[in-house]
């Protein structure tokens, strides 16, 4: 069916065989040129099939190939990070363990709190690993440890739409003790132990849902914070201040109004502060946002009630930011932990261990969790490091690759996360 067509004048450009004289941006801004009509962009020989009209039926073309052939073919190449990548962290203070979410291999990994990977070692072996089909753990991004029982609460961001709860000693490919069906795009988790309420942030719906802590199955939330006055914009981390009855929510800044096509807009990333029991379309009490805050993809947050501080894992700047719980507007952080010595790289998880006065950071960028004095600032090296990959090996950070493109000009593969 194929034939060679020589010196054909083509009124189209095939992306992979194009000769093109580029235009300046000024020309591009003239939208009147792009009306869907064909234009001359390439003149070159090309081997191509015969063109058929849109309505052509299969018999017109005949059999182009053997129908239904299954190819036994292994991939030529695979790009994959074989090491765990930590997305969230919590400390089981009572049992002296650090629990980490591995969002690359879909595992929950439990380490001794004092584990410290030597520079010469490739990794530290965890004490326990929860992993496998039965666990309902996939794109696991949020984590909470019950301070009394050690139960592990694991949030999935995509696909499985499930909060899985495991007992402290769970390991292997085990069923969760209970599950709660969560909205698509759930990210942050926090628990008010005084009222036994579970808080979750929902990226896709710009909302915070509040459940009974023991909710399971299809149980509905007891409160939902959502509406055009709430001002949530792609919410991520959430932290609670029960002492001052406040809720802190980190926002990436991708905003739109509910059920309003065309209302989308970009707003600066922020930490929004709400009454702890906020419900419905409640506006924030305060908003921490602006260039002085250094916020850039603020992921998980942790509220240190004892010292009145809010810790932010600031993914986009590879930094940890600390604000006062009373801060408002375009304020500079009280402290910034950032720099080559810190070994902080794309941090998304954070936990403040009040008992041991330590700060633990989960770094998605370098297969590590790093531990600092709680009040560390500047370019301070970690006291301890738990590594799941060789020292200095950057994480590929291919996370939930929903699509892929091939750049013909640079012979490169592009994939979003």
């Amino acid at each position: 069916m194929r034939r060679t067509v020589g010196a054909v004048f083509l009124l189209f450009a095939v992306a992979f065989s194009v000769v093109y004289s580029g235009r300046g941006l000024a020309a591009e801004s003239s939208q009147s040129r792009a009306t869907g009509g064909p234009r001359l962009v390439s003149v070159e020989p090309l081997e191509m099939c015969e063109a058929f009209p849109v309505a052509a039926q299969a018999p017109l073309r005949g059999e182009l190939a053997q129908a239904g052939k299954t190819l036994e073919r292994a991939p030529l190449r695979t790009i994959r990070d074989s090491f765990p990548t930590y997305s969230a962290v919590a400390v089981d203070v009572a049992n002296n363990e650090i629990v980490l979410q591995d969002e690359n291999l879909f595992q929950i990994m439990v380490y001794d709190r004092m584990a410290n990977t030597p520079p010469t070692a490739s990794l530290t072996e965890p004490k326990r690993v929860i992993s496998g089909h039965e666990t309902k753990v996939e794109f696991n991004c949020g984590l909470y440890i019950d301070p009394k029982t050690g139960d592990i609460y694991s949030v999935n961001n995509d696909t499985l739409d499930t909060l899985s709860v495991f007992s402290r000693n769970a390991k292997g490919n085990v069923h969760p003790d209970r599950t709660l069906h969560t909205p698509h795009g759930t990210y942050g988790i926090a628990v008010n132990e005084e009222t036994q309420e579970l808080f979750l942030t929902i990226q896709h719906e710009n909302e915070v849902v509040v459940h009974r802590k023991t909710a399971q199955g299809e149980e509905k939330p007891v409160r939902v914070l959502q509406g055009n006055h709430v001002g949530l914009a792609d919410p991520h981390g959430i932290g609670l201040d029960t002492k001052n009855q406040l809720m802190f929510v980190a926002n990436y800044g991708n905003a739109h109004d509910k059920n309003a096509p065309g209302s989308g807009r970009f707003v600066p990333p922020s930490i929004n502060v709400y009454p702890l029991k906020a419900n419905g379309d409640t506006p924030p009490l305060r908003v921490i946002s602006g260039p002085h805050t250094q916020l850039n993809w603020p992921a998980h947050v942790y509220v240190d009630q004892q010292h009145g501080e809010v810790f932010v894992a600031n993914d986009g700047e590879s930094s940890i930011l600390v604000f006062r719980v009373t801060d408002n507007g375009d304020v500079a952080p009280t402290r910034v932990l950032k720099g080559a010595e810190t070994q902080i790289k794309n941090p998304t998880g954070i936990f403040v261990d009040m008992v041991h006065d330590e700060l633990v950071v989960a770094n998605m960028g370098n297969h590590s969790a790093t531990v600092y004095p709680r009040a560390a600032a500047g370019d301070t090296p970690p006291m301890r490091t738990i590594r799941s990959g060789p020292l200095g090996k950057a994480a590929l950070q291919i996370g939930n690759p929903g699509s892929v493109a091939y750049d013909t000009k640079r012979d490169a593969i592009i994939t979003p996360n």
């Binding site: 009306t35 058929f52 073309r61 182009l64 190939a65 292994a74 096509p261």
Partner: protein
């Protein structure tokens, strides 16, 4: 993000941002925290959940599927720009777009991964995994207003359930799909990358396919791209968080 497209003619790539109801255009060589060179966003755009998209480099158009419609913009659109045209499902016995979209600028068709609606269109067949992304819907590229597909590929022999990103190799009129069966299962059975013809119709098997199984190293294919320079198909696997490249000379 469930779509990214490269346009060699303009050396640009495009992504959708459903959370901010925007379509972003970047330089082909963009790196680091670089701002997009154009943003389609605003009331006139009518964009609701621009999660996936396709670029037609020949006719200089961007296609954005959203639920029961496809919105088409000039590729150079910027700011609060109204669509050039919109084609949508009839209210009764229509169809629903499911994200995957590809344009064949030679044969003038646009193909959607989608779902047919209404008993008449379903014709007695339902996917065992539920009717969701179980069909390929083929439309005229210039369709506008309420339209039905010219052809539909759908049925038990296709093995299609939860078709995600799709690509067209215009040279042969090949539709290349990634099919992951069921997103809500960690490692579902029946996943594959497969090839159909733009002239296929009805309950037909893929012309060629590579199954997701241990010997192929593929588990849950979600993204797909064609590398004609090397006759390769590139697959983004969401269970493996990996990119796999297969030699696939049959379609190039």
């Amino acid at each position: 993000m469930h779509a990214i497209r490269y346009n060699a003619v303009r050396d640009e790539f495009y992504v959708g941002n459903p959370f901010a109801q925007a379509v972003l255009t970047f330089r082909g060589a963009a790196n680091g925290e670089e701002a997009p060179i154009r943003i389609i966003q605003g009331r006139k755009t009518t964009l609701d959940t621009p999660d996936t998209l396709e670029v037609d480099p020949v006719h200089e158009e961007l296609f954005v599927p959203e639920d029961d419609r496809v919105v088409v913009f000039p590729v150079g659109a910027n700011g609060d720009t109204a669509p050039l045209r919109v084609f949508r499902s009839p209210a009764k016995d229509g169809w629903k777009a499911a994200g995957g979209i590809a344009v064949d600028p030679i044969h003038n068709v646009v193909v959607l991964a989608g779902t047919v609606l209404g008993e008449k269109n379903k014709a007695g067949y339902s996917s065992p995994y539920g009717d969701n992304r179980e069909a390929l819907l083929i439309f005229d590229r210039t369709a506008s207003g309420e339209v039905q597909p010219i052809r539909v590929i759908r049925g038990s022999r296709t093995g299609m359930h939860a078709v995600r990103q799709i690509e067209i190799q215009p040279k042969g009129g090949w539709i290349v799909i990634s099919q992951m069966t069921a997103g809500e299962l960690p490692e579902p059975e029946g996943t594959y990358i497969g090839v159909y013809s733009i002239n296929d119709s009805g309950n037909v098997p893929p012309r060629w396919k590579i199954d997701g199984k241990p010997s192929t190293g593929m588990k849950k294919p979600h993204g797909i791209a064609l590398d004609p320079n090397h006759k390769e198909v590139v697959v983004a696997d969401m269970r493996l968080n990996a990119i796999l490249t297969f030699y696939f000379p049959e379609i190039f």
